[in-house]
Each structure stands twice: as structure tokens, then as C-alpha cells.
């Protein structure tokens, strides 16, 4: 992508369309963080494309003054894949929700992740179906009562990060609607990453699943949230007094100064490690295990993208093909004349 000369502001990315999310919806914060992040990326405005599926989150492209495509349920990633492969110059963003990406689009999600096309996925996770008014989603917690689970939800939920790790995804980060500044920084990192980057954004559905993420997103719950930084020790808590350590095959929470624990004992975050084992632990932390929920870039491991590999093959075929043009191809093989 060429260097942009124009300096944009977030207003350049706001369309004239009225935003129709419910008052208090966490999606507003994500929209605003994206609109603030885009001017800081080295991309021309006309090269941004936002593509979505169906759901509350998927109305997102209408609110952006960029190229946009509001697709069909679950298939936004497949549409985005085609757009990016057709024109690798574009910065393609795929907006999706937990229902769109994990249920009806689950198949496309895992395959897009393993394929590693240079796409930026923002997965709005509110653990509920909002647009269809309150049914459980694939990320809804076990036991939760919803309109379609009046006695409690009996399916184990998906953890999006776990699916990304399991599909050998190259980039996974987690952000929250309550921390727009952090969100913005992570979106910029996602854009810089060449390959499929998945950012799970915890967002609050004020109508059907209010406060679902409060334990991990409210300021007074800092003991329950850890913000990762590559190369830095995994510390958390109001005064960074807690840390994570490996104990056998498990992550444990420790307090600095207690039981002779020093800063040197704390795990240092390496987002670039090829193995997914520790990443798997980090994405799972915080679900009833006494550990904090982990935010930030959990994994960022560069590899050739799908389109780079494709281009290499094109170049190779161009050099080795017997046919310089279609007329030569059509006339190849055995032919005969009718006089």
C-alpha cells in the first residue's frame, strides 16, 4: 500500500447514516475506536473496505464512509476473502458477531483463520443474539436463561480465541468496549499484521444480556483483567501486584512478595511464539478458574499470507507456461483442418 499523503480524521470515516443501535450499546464504542484508528493507519481512505454478515454488529459498514458490503448471515468472511483476493491492495475489514461468526459462519471462520488471507476480523462478542431479540448464541455461558433456553442453556460455549488457536490462527487479540483507547491501539496492530487477524471485542448488549462482561470490563475489577504487552511480564491488579506463573501444565495467579515470588518468576509475554499451547491457556483464562481475563494481542505470528503464496504460483506459472496467450492455448494439442 502506498503511503498516504492526506491526513484523515475520524470524521472522514463517519457516514451520513443514522446509527441505529440501542442507546447504551457497547457497539458505539467499537465504531468510534475504529473511526479513530483508521486515520493512524498507512492506508488511503478509498482502500478501506468493511464487510459484514448479519446481526447488530453487521450494520457497521453503513456507518462508515468507506467502501462497504453488508452481506448475508455468516458469510461475511467468505465475501471478504473474495474481495481481498481479487484486489490485494485493499485493507479489508470483516465485522461479525458471536452468532454470525461462531454459529452460522463457524465453518467459514475456522477455514478463513487457517487460510491466512490478510483480513482484519472484528468479532463483536456479547454472548447473545441481539437482532433476533434474545436467544442464546454459541458463546452464551452454560446455564444462562434466554428466550430459547428458559430453563438454562445446556450447550458448552465456544471460546473464539480457542477456535483461532485450534485452527493455527496467526493473530488473536481481545479488547473490550469499556476501553476504547486500548481497542484503538489493538486495531492498528491488527491492520499492520499481514495475515488474518482476529480481534474479539467484548461488547455489552444493554437489552438482552446487560452486564455480562462486567466482571472483566469495569474499572473496579482490575484484579480480574490482565492487559498483555509483548516482552513484558504478565502483571495485573490495581497496583500490578499480581502476576501469572506456570505451575506444571497450569497457569496460576501469584502475588508479588508472597511465597518468595519476585518479578523474575512472572511469565513474560511472547506473542510471536509458534506453539499455541500457552496462547490456548491465555485465551481460556478467567472463566471460573480464579485467573484474570486476558486482553491485548495474545498471539501475533507472521507467516506468508495466502495471497502471497498465490502470487508466487502465478509468477511461477507465468515463467513456465507453454502458452503466451489464449490463442496459443486454444490451438494447443491435436488439431486438424477442414478445407
Amino acid at each position: 500500500m502506498e503511503t498516504t499523503k492526506v491526513k484523515y480524521t475520524f470524521k472522514d470515516f463517519s457516514s451520513d447514516q443514522e446509527v441505529k443501535w440501542c442507546p447504551g450499546c457497547g457497539d458505539y464504542a467499537i465504531l468510534s475506536a475504529v473511526q479513530k484508528a483508521l486515520p493512524e493507519m498507512d492506508v488511503k481512505k478509498e482502500d478501506f473496505v468493511f464487510i459484514s454478515g448479519i446481526g447488530c454488529s453487521s450494520r457497521f459498514p453503513y456507518y462508515m464512509d468507506t467502501y462497504g458490503f453488508h452481506g448475508i448471515h455468516g458469510r461475511g468472511l467468505a465475501i471478504a476473502t473474495g474481495t481481498k483476493l481479487a484486489n490485494p491492495n485493499l485493507s479489508v475489514w470483516q465485522i461479525t458477531g458471536d452468532g454470525d461468526a461462531m454459529a452460522i459462519g463457524g465453518n467459514h471462520f475456522i477455514h478463513a483463520v487457517r487460510r491466512n488471507v490478510d483480513l482484519n476480523v472484528i468479532l463483536f462478542n456479547n454472548e447473545i443474539y441481539g437482532l433476533t431479540k434474545g436467544q442464546f448464541s454459541p458463546t452464551t455461558k452454560l446455564g444462562m436463561k434466554t428466550k430459547t433456553s428458559p430453563e438454562g442453556q445446556i450447550q458448552n460455549p465456544f471460546n473464539p480465541g480457542e477456535l483461532v488457536m485450534g485452527s493455527k490462527g496467526r493473530f488473536f487479540a481481545r479488547v473490550m468496549d469499556k476501553n476504547p483507547k486500548h481497542m484503538k491501539e489493538v486495531f492498528i496492530q491488527a491492520e499492520k499484521f499481514k495475515g488474518t487477524s482476529v480481534v474479539e471485542a467484548l461488547t455489552n448488549c444493554v437489552i438482552f444480556n446487560d452486564k455480562v462482561h462486567d466482571q472483566f470490563t469495569q474499572k473496579d475489577h482490575q484484579d480480574d483483567m490482565l492487559f498483555l504487552e509483548h516482552g513484558k511480564p504478565m502483571l495485573f491488579g490495581k497496583n500490578k501486584e499480581y502476576g501469572l506463573m506456570l505451575h506444571g501444565f497450569k497457569l496460576i495467579k501469584v502475588k508479588l512478595g508472597e511465597n518468595h515470588v519476585t518479578i523474575d518468576d512472572i511469565l513474560v509475554h511472547d506473542a510471536h511464539v509458534e506453539e499455541t499451547g500457552l496462547g490456548m491457556m491465555l485465551v481460556n483464562a478467567g472463566m471460573g478458574d480464579g485467573l484474570p481475563r486476558v486482553f491485548g494481542v495474545i498471539r501475533s505470528v507472521q507467516e506468508d499470507t495466502f495471497e502471497e503464496r498465490m502470487q508466487a504460483q502465478v509468477d511461477n506459472v507465468r515463467e513456465t507456461s507453454k502458452f503466451a496467450n489464449l490463442d496459443e492455448l486454444f490451438a494447443s494439442g491435436e488439431t486438424w483442418e477442414i478445407e
Partner: protein, 618 residues
């Protein structure tokens, strides 16, 4: 062994069917015979007929693979109804094909494959080679497997590998019968195996020659059948093409003529897969072949590529089209170009994957939610798959609409001589791409002539816009639930498709231009329909054929043609889908039907019987 004396005969046309177990290499044998015949200047048509299973139980009727080829010095439009020569490599192949051979004609059998066990597996009560079953035929009983092994015994191969060359031995015999040289096949074998597996090449060539020599020695084969008749193909350079390859090439040609790179997002499905495979070979022509995780991702990725400015193509067969239905509606709503190639097969559901049918017409026309019109066109021969995939691409790009191109298994897998099209003979394709710097552009404004939306490509400064599956305002493209807007947009989408008719050639009638009976067909049945009608015209009947390639919209002169005949019959490989479509479009006429749903193409004999019956009715 029968004691037919060697005779020299001349025939205009001949139908040969090679049949054996699905591992016997019958498709290769048939293709080789076809290629050699084409090089000798014969016109021809082929029909491969193979089981859906990769390896059905060996030696059973279900596992029989066949390849039929019709060659002649004159016009050949079908692979032929009944065979003049049947090659049966085992008892099951004979069982499956006996009803497809004309009486008094020749059957070649490998007697090594008629042992007790073979007969049992094939379901013969007694040995047909020893009872009266084959009395009406000239039977050439040859121990093909053992002779092949004998011929190859010095090469140091194991018995199984040696036996694998028996198809080449058989081909050698048939080459002798029809005075065909072996050179073409020898070259093929050397090219295919020469470098990597020289011993395999040698074995096959040796078997081929041994078969030919055997046939010339035994004096039992009615040798030296000469094919006569003057060639009626127009002047030019020809090659033999399969329908699916021709479809892929038409797409590549459209890409070059439109300046849009091909994006083919697809998922493998019989019998459409070869189109994806062919496109995958030609990346350097700017063709991106994307094998997606499923049919839906296939079409959805293609729609994304269309948004970005590609020539967007997705290929599939019946059940795959069903899966693509929702996304196809999205392409209708967003008014983006899209070519959907549906190589039809027997249905419903998984149906008959390797057998042909024309029963997806209603699905192509209506298989979506809402008022969702798309253009529908159909190819009618393996060679014109090139023309119609080019045409489908042109319509899609210039009219900004999805186009469903219907071919079928019979066309896709069949082959025929194709007069090689030169790129400079083809028309240009001009998609309505919005130029950079265009002011006051609105995403859903239409050009007056075609009523097509214009195409602004991501990456163009100043034309940023949003499209999607929700109904859009007719100008701005903003989401709109205004009732009147939905009505006018629905009507606009319909009118856009109808407008395509302004750009179509007139429908031509073959045979009588007015009179007693108009025969109507569409798509892949053209060869047999044409042959039947021409023969009946030759017999003095007042009969004409209107064969349709354009289905939605219909050509403008259709109604006028329908009015010129006393009776109309629609013949199709389904229960009357096109007949019903015509009833809906032109209810003032009465339509008789002739329908077949056996997974098989029409025979000219059954068509003529049906048409004669209708002519004779009061």
C-alpha cells in the same frame, strides 16, 4: 470363435461402445479412439457413462464404466442411440449394455472374464457365450487378458500390471477393425509414461500392437470398415473439446475481452469439477481459482470478488446450486455481475451424480426467496459451451446481473469437434465501470438503455459507497423500507432482465418454418432433437425445431414462431419444466410434452416415435 470371413465395408457412421469394469481404463480407451478418429477428419460425438462410485464392486453391473463414441464422415450431433460395436471387457459389461447394441452387430468379449465367478457377480444365470443369448450378434470371443499377459511376459512385470494393459490390447483390435493407425496413441503413451515410467509405456504400446496384430491374424474380425461421406463442418481448424473445458475457456476469453481478471470461487462437485480444475491451470492469464470450504463460501467469495471488480464465476451442480441460492439472491439485490455455471445432473438431492438431466430449470429461474430474477441461458453442445460461457460473462458484466448458465453432465463430459475460436473474432465486453473523478455518482442510478446499475470499484477515490442484502433506495443506495421504493426496485430488477432481450439474436427454426408440428427443446438435447427433426423433414414431414439457448429473458420472436404451427411439443429430460415456463409466458398456445427422466439422453429413435405419434393424432 465364429467364422466370419474378412470383408471390407463402407459405412457413413458408426457407433462404438467400450465397456468394462470401472478400473479397466475404458474412458482412456474411448478417448484414444476418439482422438485418433478426429485426426482422420471424422466428425464425432462422445458420451462417457461411468458410475458415481470411484470403485464400485469389481465385476458387478453397478461398476460398469462405458464410453460411447459416434463417428462419421457427415454431421454427427449425438453419441448415437445404439452401438454397432460393443466391446465388453467382462460379463457385467455385457449384461449392462446388451440392450444398447443393434441386433446383427458386433460384440467383442474378453473370454477370460466370463468365468463362473464373473457370471455370478454379473447376474447371468448361464454363460451367455455358450447359450443362445448372443445368437443375433456377431460375437468375437478373444482371451484378451491372457493374450495381453502372453505378449508382455518378457518385460519382467507382475501379472496384475500386465493385465492392466488389456485395454490397449482391445484398442489395438478396434483400431484394426476401423483401419485406424496406432501412432496417435503410441505418442500419447510415450508422452504420458515415457519419462517417468518407461516400462509402463513399453508394455502399453506392446499390448496395443499385439491387439492389432491379433485382430489381423485371426480373420474373424470384419476388418477394414471405411467411413465415408463428405465432411459438412465449415472450413477451419478444429480440435476435440470436452464441454467443461470449453466452458472454462469461454470464461478465460471473456476475461481477456473485458479486461477483468477471472475469480472462480467454487467447491468440487460432479460433474462440474473439471471447470474449476481447468481454470486452476491458467493462473498466468489472471485467473484466480479459489477452492472454498463449501458451496456457499464458493459463491460468497465470488460475490466479494465481484464487488472488487473481477469477472466473477462460480461453478456447481444441482445440490450445490441449492446451497448457493441465498447468496445468489444477494447478488441480485446488490446488482453485481456473477456467472453461475450449473452442470446439471439427475436429482433431487444427491440424485444421480454422474447422469444427465435437465431438471434444475425451475431452480435456476426461481430457486430463491423473494422476487429474484436472474438471466438464465443454456449451452447445447460440448463445443458451444465455449460460446455460452462467453455470452454468460458478457451479459453478467454488461447488464450487472447474475447469470445462470445451464449445461449438463452429458455436455460437460462429452466431447465434440470445436472450430477453434480466434480471440480477435470475439466481441469486446464493456462493463459499466465508473471512472475516477465522476461527480454526483449514485450507487443505484441506472443507465437508460440497459437499466443496469453502474460499477464503482473499491480503491477508486471519491466513490466510497455501501451495498448489501437489505433493500436499497433507488438512487442513493441507502437502506430503505419505504413501501413504494421496494415496489419500484422490484420492478426495476425485473425490467433489467427483460431488457437483455434487446441484445439477443432472434430464435432460429430448423426444418419447416411453419406447418404441422413445432418441436421445442433447450440446452443439451439439441443434438438428438436436430438429428430426429432433420430425418423427419427428409421423410417429408412438416416439422420444425426451435431449440432454446436463451431462457430468461426469452428472445423477442418466440411468440411469433409459436403461432406458425398447428401443434407444439416440448421435449426435455424432466417432467415438463420448460413446457410449464412456456405455458406461463405464452398461455395462448397448447403444449404437448415428451419427457424422459432416466439419467440418459434422448435417443433419436424415441424422439421420432414420439413426434410421429403427435403428428398422427387428431
Amino acid at each position: 470363435m465364429s467364422s466370419n470371413k474378412v470383408t471390407s465395408t463402407e459405412v457413413e457412421k458408426v457407433v462404438i461402445k467400450f465397456a468394462g469394469d470401472s478400473g479397466d481404463g475404458m474412458q482412456l480407451t474411448g478417448t484414444q479412439f476418439t482422438g485418433t478418429s478426429a485426426l482422420l477428419g471424422n466428425d464425432l460425438a462422445t458420451f462417457p457413462d461411468y458410475p458415481a462410485e470411484i470403485r464400485a464392486p469389481q465385476g458387478t453391473v453397478a461398476g460398469v464404466s462405458g464410453f460411447q463414441v459416434h463417428i462419421g464422415g457427415t454431421d454427427i450431433h449425438t453419441p448415437g442411440d445404439y452401438a454397432d460395436v460393443l466391446v465388453a471387457m467382462n460379463a457385467a459389461a455385457l449384461k449392462a449394455n446388451l440392450k444398447w447394441i443393434k441386433s446383427s452387430k458386433t460384440i467383442i468379449v474378453d473370454t477370460d472374464s466370463f468365468k463362473k465367478k464373473d457370471l455370478q457377480k454379473a447376474g447371468w444365470e448361464s454363460n451367455p457365450l455358450e447359450d443362445s443369448t448372443l445368437d443375433a450378434y456377431k460375437v468375437i470371443k478373444a482371451p484378451i487378458t491372457s493374450m495381453t499377459k502372453e505378449a508382455l511376459k518378457d518385460l519382467g512385470l507382475d501379472a496384475k500390471t500386465m493385465a492392466r494393459s488389456k485395454n490397449m490390447f482391445t484398442l489395438g483390435m478396434v483400431y484394426w477393425m476401423f483401419s485406424r493407425p496406432c501412432e496417435h496413441t503410441i505418442k500419447f503413451l510415450n508422452d504420458k509414461f515415457g519419462k517417468k515410467l518407461p516400462l509402463v509405456a513399453e508394455a502399453n504400446i506392446k499390448a496395443l500392437r499385439a491387439g492389432r496384430n491379433y485382430a489381423s491374424t485371426i480373420e474373424a474380425i470384419p476388418n477394414q470398415i471405411t467411413i465415408t461421406g463428405s465432411q459438412s463442418l465449415e472450413k477451419g481448424t478444429y480440435k476435440n473439446v470436452m464441454g467443461n473445458a470449453a466452458t472454462a475457456w469461454g470464461i478465460l476469453a471473456a476475461s481477456a475481452k473485458s479486461g477483468r481478471d477471472v475469480f472462480l470461487g467454487s467447491y468440487p462437485i460432479t460433474p462440474a469439477t473439471e471447470i474449476l480444475q481447468e481454470i486452476a491451470k491458467h493462473k498466468h492469464f489472471g485467473a484466480k481459482a479459489f477452492q472454498a470450504e463449501d458451496e456457499i463460501a464458493g459463491i460468497a467469495s465470488t460475490i466479494g470478488a465481484s464487488f472488487a471488480g473481477s469477472l466473477p464465476v462460480t461453478t456447481t451442480s444441482g445440490p450445490g446450486l441449492a446451497l448457493k441460492g441465498e447468496a445468489l439472491g444477494l447478488a441480485v439485490m446488490t446488482e453485481l455481475p456473477l456467472v453461475v455455471v450449473n452442470v446439471q445432473r439427475g436429482g433431487p438431492s444427491t440424485g444421480l451424480p454422474t447422469k444427465t438431466e435437465q431438471s434444475d430449470l425451475m431452480q435456476a429461474l426461481y430457486g430463491r426467496n423473494g422476487e429474484s430474477p436472474v438471466a438464465v441461458i443454456a449451452a447445447s453442445s460440448p463445443a458451444d459451451c465455449f460460446d455460452y460461457s462467453f455470452e454468460a460473462s458478457k451479459i453478467a458484466l454488461e447488464h450487472m446481473t447474475p447469470v445462470v448458465l445451464l449445461t449438463d453432465g452429458y455436455l460437460g463430459n462429452g466431447s465434440a469437434p470445436w472450430k477453434i475460436t480466434k480471440m480477435d473474432e470475439l466481441p469486446d465486453i464493456n462493463p459499466p465501470i465508473v471512472k475516477e473523478g465522476t461527480e454526483n455518482w449514485e450507487p443505484y442510478s441506472r443507465d437508460a438503455e440497459r437499466l443496469a446499475r453502474t460499477w464503482a470499484l473499491p480503491g477508486t477515490p471519491g466513490l466510497e459507497h455501501r451495498i448489501g442484502g437489505l433493500e436499497k433506495d433507488g438512487k442513493t443506495g441507502n437502506v430503505s423500507y419505504v413501501p413504494e421504493n421496494h415496489q419500484s426496485m422490484t420492478e426495476a430488477r425485473e425490467a433489467k432482465i427483460e431488457k437483455i432481450a434487446d441484445y439477443l439474436p432472434e430464435l432460429q427454426v430448423e426444418g419447416a418454418q411453419e406447418g404441422d408440428l413445432l418441436v421445442i427443446g433447450w440446452g443439451g438435447t439439441k443434438g438428438s432433437m436436430l438429428t430426429s427433426v432433420r430425418e423427419m423433414v427428409g421423410e417429408g414431414k412438416s416439422i420444425g425445431l426451435a431449440h432454446f439457448n436463451y431462457i430468461n429473458p426469452l428472445q423477442k420472436n418466440v411468440k411469433e414462431i409459436l403461432g406458425r404451427y398447428k401443434k407444439i411439443v416440448v421435449a426435455e429430460l424432466n417432467l415438463g419444466q420448460f413446457a410449464n415456463y412456456l405455458r406461463m409466458s405464452f398461455p395462448e398456445f397448447e403444449y404437448k410434452q415428451y419427457n424422459k427422466v432416466q439419467g440418459l439422453p434422448f435417443t433419436t429413435i424415441e424422439l421420432k416415435d414420439a413426434f410421429n405419434k403427435i403428428l398422427n393424432e387428431n
